[in-house]
Symmetry: C2
Subunit: 121 residues, 2 copies
DNA sequence: CTGAATCCTTTTGGATACTG
DNA sequence: CAGTATCCAAAAGGATTCAG
């Protein structure tokens, strides 16, 4: 992708989804609005820095909505925008694929670790 | 994801799809079998090193099939396996999403460049 | 033509400590 | 609780060069 045109819609989607935790964030927010702390626990072992960074990008991209209640102690809620929900839906088939072939994917992961592959989680 | 279990199928799918050009590779091979050179031109400006690397991973993962004709000059063809085709299909909705909202995504890309965001391809 | 090998830069994510 | 700041390690990708 060079100057604003993607070779296929897939690139466009993956451009927005770029970032290790973004799909997971979308996934968890698809179910319900979450407070910052809840979201971090739901996502797993992600550092504050990275989570905040990706939340900011998703917010700037119009995928999620951030509401700061301006209270002490702080309370901030995150939720999907209408646009974000459309992306969440487009993600579902991929989610189903992963679920359906989870056994195969697990095998792939094991194989990668044996062969010392990169990206072997 | 810690030890072999994914929080949702989405993680599993993205684990397999990890790599900048893999979705694009799947996309191009979904239409037809390609020779190495054709594929590289189709994918865009990707270096040999990276393309080969990702092709090998996809092959090791059972997503694509590699046929070396053992000729001089060399001739190698790549195609999707049955398993690879299932993933290709799961990718379609995301592709459609990107196509449908291409205008919005373009706007997002422009905005990222202005703000000096990361991943602003 | 297809690919291997080497070196290098950029990008990305993580650990830790600190603040209102 | 919800972040911010700084420093750091690793990885992923890219350029170049060489080979059968």
């Amino acid at each position: 992708m060079k100057n604003g045109t993607f070779t296929c819609g897939l690139d466009a989607a993956l451009f927005v989804l770029g970032g290790k935790w973004k799909p997971l964030i979308l996934f968890h927010l698809a179910h319900e609005t979450r407070r910052y702390g809840e979201l971090r626990r739901a996502v797993g072992n992600v550092s504050d820095k990275v989570l905040i960074q990706q939340l900011k990008e998703l917010e700037a991209d119009g995928m999620i909505h951030r509401v700061d209640f301006g209270e002490i102690p702080p309370k901030v809620e995150y939720s999907l925008t209408a646009f974000g929900r459309t992306l969440g839906k487009a993600l579902l088939p991929l989610c189903k694929w992963g679920t359906k072939y989870s056994t195969k994917v697990d095998a792939i992961m094991v194989r990668r670790k044996d062969h010392g592959h990169p990206r072997a989680a």
